[in-house]
């Protein structure tokens, strides 16, 4: 075991319901601050469920642009008095992490109904400011080398992966192109109306070679949210919901790898499926964290769909569209929807919940029963530190 201990023996998530996927429409730029997006998500949760605001006694929030505020300040903005709050400054992993924490709070009786919300605003210059001040290490040891932000770091990871495992740009292009097909009917996907061919993908201008334009997400504003509560309550309220079959997280896994070529999922993959009592073959759709296509490859490998280094062959052999034999990022993912800051880290969980409860924004995976949502976040130096995954199953 490299980079940490296993998590055998983790209690299951029995009795917990995840419900009410909501999305505050994405926009390229916004005048409203993050508080507006998060509050709008909360309002949508209440409208959809008929819940009174006072009944929400737990609040978990993730955001990059809420500063200097955190979750506790939002309770004042929204006149709430919750008995449990959580703050998740962990970006791409924050959806899985919020779900895990909220589920335990409800199991333990520390909260009855938890609103989990991620939201961010976006205005010109915001992204550069975020990158410049993202972490001490990135400020001293990454940003001075060209100021490219995550594009530069993930270009190095992609370059290494291509050399080590023989992946080609066209392999990664399959991810971007299939997700653009999936985004077609999703009104929230900012790029959903723009068809993308493999030729256009390959001909795109270089950003940080080997990354080109369609390997990179477009920063935007928006929010994603869901509710966590006791399953009996969800049933009594008549809410379509999902159960949590298994969930994992890992931080700073494989820290001795000179370039990231595995993510923390690989440490805990067996524990995830053991807890769930299912295998990768039982997954109806995978919602992975697609900040860059190479990270999708690491998730395919780390989450047990293929062995390390075999993602390129796996990509060539499967159809990743909604109606294909491996439905993946069925709303178009961040590559087609845009990356609404930390909400990008909630998107896999929210889309997984949409699919197994048959509430899609766009296309529905036929017969979806179990979805796997994955997260990956926080490039504090030369890789993301936080990884996690959750298996949710629609409650019949």
């Amino acid at each position: 075991m490299i980079g940490g201990s296993g998590q055998g023996g983790a209690r299951d998530y029995r009795g917990i319901a995840v419900a009410c996927p909501v999305t505050v429409p994405y926009v390229k730029q916004a005048k409203q601050p993050a508080h507006w997006f998060i509050g709008s998500a909360l309002r949508m949760l209440l409208e959809r469920t008929g819940l009174d605001k006072a009944a929400v006694d737990g609040l978990a929030v993730s955001s990059f642009s809420l500063g200097p505020d955190t979750t506790v300040a939002l309770t004042e903005h929204f006149d709430m008095s919750p008995r449990w709050i959580e703050w998740l400054p962990t970006g791409g992993a924050s959806g899985v992490m919020a779900l895990r924490r909220a589920a335990r709070a409800v199991q333990d009786g520390d909260a009855s109904i938890v609103a989990c919300i991620a939201g961010d605003t976006a205005s010109p210059g915001d992204f550069g400011d975020l990158v410049r001040n993202f972490s001490r290490f990135s400020g001293t040891a990454a940003y001075p080398y060209g100021g490219a932000g995550p594009n530069g770091i993930f270009a190095l990871i992609t370059d290494h992966y291509m050399r080590r495992f023989g992946a080609t740009r066209a392999d990664f292009g399959r991810i971007a192109v299939s997700q653009r097909v999936n985004a077609r009917d999703n009104p929230n996907a900012l790029l959903g109306g723009k068809a993308l061919s493999l030729d256009a993908y390959l001909a795109a201008p270089p950003i940080a070679e080997p990354l080109h334009l369609y390997d990179c997400v477009m920063p935007c504003a928006g929010a994603e949210a869901f509710l966590v509560m006791d399953e009996a309550r969800a049933r009594a309220m008549g809410l379509p919901h999902a159960r949590i079959r298994g969930a994992i997280e890992r931080h700073n896994g494989f820290f001795d790898d000179p370039v990231a070529e595995r993510g923390g999922w690989a440490i805990d993959c067996d524990a995830l499926y053991a807890q769930a009592g299912v295998g990768p073959e039982d997954v109806s759709c995978l919602q992975s964290y697609d900040d860059y296509p190479v990270i999708v490859a690491l998730q395919l490998e780390g989450l047990g769909f293929c062995a390390q280094g075999e993602a390129p062959a796996f990509l060539r052999a499967r159809d990743f569209t909604v109606e294909g034999n491996f439905p993946h990022n069925t709303c178009g993912g961040q590559l087609s929807s845009g990356q609404a800051g930390a909400a990008g880290g909630f998107l896999p969980v929210v889309e997984a919940l949409r699919q197994v409860t048959y509430q899609p924004l766009g296309q529905q995976v036929p017969g979806a029963r179990i979805a796997l949502a994955s997260g990956y976040g926080m490039v504090t130096y030369d890789r993301c530190l936080a990884s996690g995954a959750v298996l949710v199953e629609g409650a019949a």
């Binding site: 410049r132 040891a141 080398y145 100021g147 490219a148 530069g152 270009a155 950003i207």
Partner: protein
């Protein structure tokens, strides 16, 4: 050619980026120690865009990941001719108020 690496006087671990305590044993006994700066270039990228206007006139520019023989990794600018797989040697230089590293292909005698 040498660079200086943070080294723990307690357990001998070397580390980069610089930290406040030893990353391995957490001892408060860090020193800057000379290192020959030799390592292998394991990944490269050519940057065509930067978030920082200060780099605009220098684009495209190449950076890479170097795995030092000292057991740490770092990101460095790449001198012309340095390619992945090469043994490289790091040179420290000043850029504004910062010390930065440039990786050059090792010249064999």
């Amino acid at each position: 050619m040498t660079i200086r690496l943070q080294t723990c006087a307690g357990c001998g671990a070397r580390q980069y980026p610089e930290r406040d305590l030893c990353r391995v044993c957490l001892a408060d006994e860090l020193r800057l120690v000379d290192d020959h700066g030799r390592g292998r270039l394991i990944a490269e990228t050519k940057l065509h865009r930067s978030l920082d206007p200060a780099f605009a006139s220098e684009l495209p520019l190449r950076i890479g990941t170097v795995a030092l023989e000292a057991g740490v990794r770092l990101i460095a600018f790449l001198a012309p001719g340095a390619a992945p797989g090469d043994t490289v040697v790091l040179r420290a230089a000043r850029r504004g108020e910062q010390t930065i590293f440039i990786a050059e292909k090792e010249q064999r005698e």
